[in-house]
Amino acid sequence: MDEAAATAEDHTDDKAGPATGEDKRLGDILLKVDNISLSFGGVQAISEVSFDIREHEILAIIGPNGAGKTSMLNVINGFYHPQLGTITYKGKTRRQMKPHAAARQGIARTFQNVALFRGMTTLDNIMTGRVPRLPDNLFSDIANIFLQAVWLGPAKKSEMEQRAFVERIIDFLEIQAIRRVPVGRLPYGLQKRVELGRALAMEPDLLLLDEPMAGMNLEEKEDMSRFILDVNDEFGTTIALIEHDMGVVMDISDRVVVLNYGRKIADGTPEQVQSNPEVVDAYLGVGHG
């Protein structure tokens, strides 16, 4: 953890590589997207993109604005349904699924523009993250109404268990002081942190982070990098993240996928990607003349 934090801090350093890459045992392929194409009306958002994510890996998806990064995440957790291609997650192949089903199978997500429940407190927001870990059938939902109505027995017990779990996350993210504050009143950086907390409460196997550090100052970025690396280390969570800060990307990710105009143009370790001429072109705007 100390090492991770230290690496995050000096991420302007040129020789930065995957910080924990050497000693981390990458597992099997957790998710494989295969030949995905997605269009809205006439606009082709993603065309024929394939890549995979291994267990315990931190994968960064980068690319210029409008490259289809967020759409890609939306496809992975079932919010958009691609016209072509398949997604294999935990060995099961599918073309589309309901977002809530994806959440139940352990795909958690944070959003580019913070998507917290603004009217609820920090505590309640993170508590909602426990939903996918609760029983999911009509009978238990209806039984829950009656149990919850009298606030006794199983309902109360489950509530307290959830609370205890959430308190651990609150401690982990160091947000004890804002437990009871409605999230709408929090500053942006803290909102991002609460959103990460909500995703963590889902005990995800795969965590999708959409620009977790956008709009943050250096200190906040360092904090957030540390949290991401800690999550990856301590819980073994696989992470796919979109980020524009190249320093951060090169520091914390094991592998980088580069999208441009909806196509994958590079895929490899940060060093490989950095030296890829096509990627340099895409970022500097050369070669599209």
């Binding site: 295969d34 967020t70 398949t86 294999t88 192949t93 523009n113």
Partner: protein, 497 residues
Amino acid sequence: MEKALALPDTGFADRLRGLKQPYKTFVYIALTLIVLAAIRWVFATLFPESVYPFLTEPFEKIYADWPSFFFEVVISGVLTGVMYALVALGFVLIFKASGMFNFAQGIMVLFAALMLVGLMGMELKLAAASTLWFVYLVFAAVGLVLLGLYFARTRGGPTDEKPAAPSRWTQTLRIVGYALFYWGAGLGVIYLLSDGGPSLGWAVIYQAAIVIAAAIYLLKTWGVFGVAGGLPSISEAGRVILSVTLFIGVVLVLVGLWTTKMPTLIALPLTVIVMIALARVVEALVLRHLVNQHEIILFMATIGLAFFLEGFGEMMWGGNVRKLDVGLPQGHWEVGGMLLQQFEIAAAVIGAVMVAFLAFFFQKTKIGRALRAVADDHQAALSVGISLRTIWIFVWSTAGIVALVAGIVWGGKSGVQFSLSLIALKALPVLILGGLTSIPGAIVGGLIIGVGEKVAEVYWGPAVGGAIENWFAYVLALTFLLFRPQGLFGERIIERV
């Protein structure tokens, strides 16, 4: 992995969506027919005794009525539809410009009609001349003195370089000064000019408006609602109070001065002025403070506005049914065995002209272009120098005028009364059927609902006990929504996160 690739690339629904026109339409029609046949079969199996009254008898009647009576029903439906479309147009305009689903549009129709009918039929027997005007003018003078004190304090004395920063006390001075001045001056002038003064209802409204406006700004000044961030800054207080009182003042003068029946040609433009003033007031008091609010909050706000206007209008003019006659023809023609009401034809023509004019206006003129820009993106429109406030006032004024036309037509048909606003509620299903942002949608939706409910009432109504006109439109729109949530002409929404 090989297995994965063997999955079909596209499902049935996707393949359907991918079809080219006109095949797509044919396939959809065929599918609809198949579904209808299936429904009929299920229905006939479940309720065999209902087959005749629901599925056979209506068609027999249509056949028996063919062609003249059936077409009479259809034409009467078309005409009703045009009127629905007229109300719906007002909704569409406002929705496009402010994202506000203006529930009050129906009440605006009633309000405009009440105003017109009230102005036209005005024969007030005013009370004997009184000297009250003098008392009120004294109040106004006191208000002026207070204002003078305020300005003296904030401008600073001759020795001061800078004016003193306005404190809560000086703000209070200013608010009370303004309120007293407008209150006294308004009522005083009315009493002076009108040779008697306004009716009790008017006086109550006028004074209540001032008291409420002043109270709001006093509360704001003294920070009673610590977080009440939505209210305008204190410097606007005077202007807002001014706009409210001016609006009411204009009407008061009209009420006070006119003692004989007003000709249509004068009453009509006056009503238009009142509707524009109303738009101004709504913008200043409501819209401006609800920018960027959730659409549901805006919607509920318009329900509040509807209640306010209803109470206001009826307080002014009373709740009786009034006859409105602006000189539209009342006879009927007989064409090929069909009875055509001249009034309804005239109404349809007015509606059509109105629609054509609006369409032209919003496509071809500068302000129309600005409106479309605002509809597209508020922020972007602001950044190129379009004033949202101007657009809103303009759009609400236009909606007010459309409401007036609808009020004339509806009121001429069934009298001006409260139920007018309920009829206007029918514009809601019309809208969601046609798509919230589409002017052609409002028209086509109006026609479908108008014809649909007339035909359903005449031929299917008896099977279920009649009076289905009350809910048929809603259920029709609802069923339609299940298949096409954005309405006929609405834009498909791509959700983003």
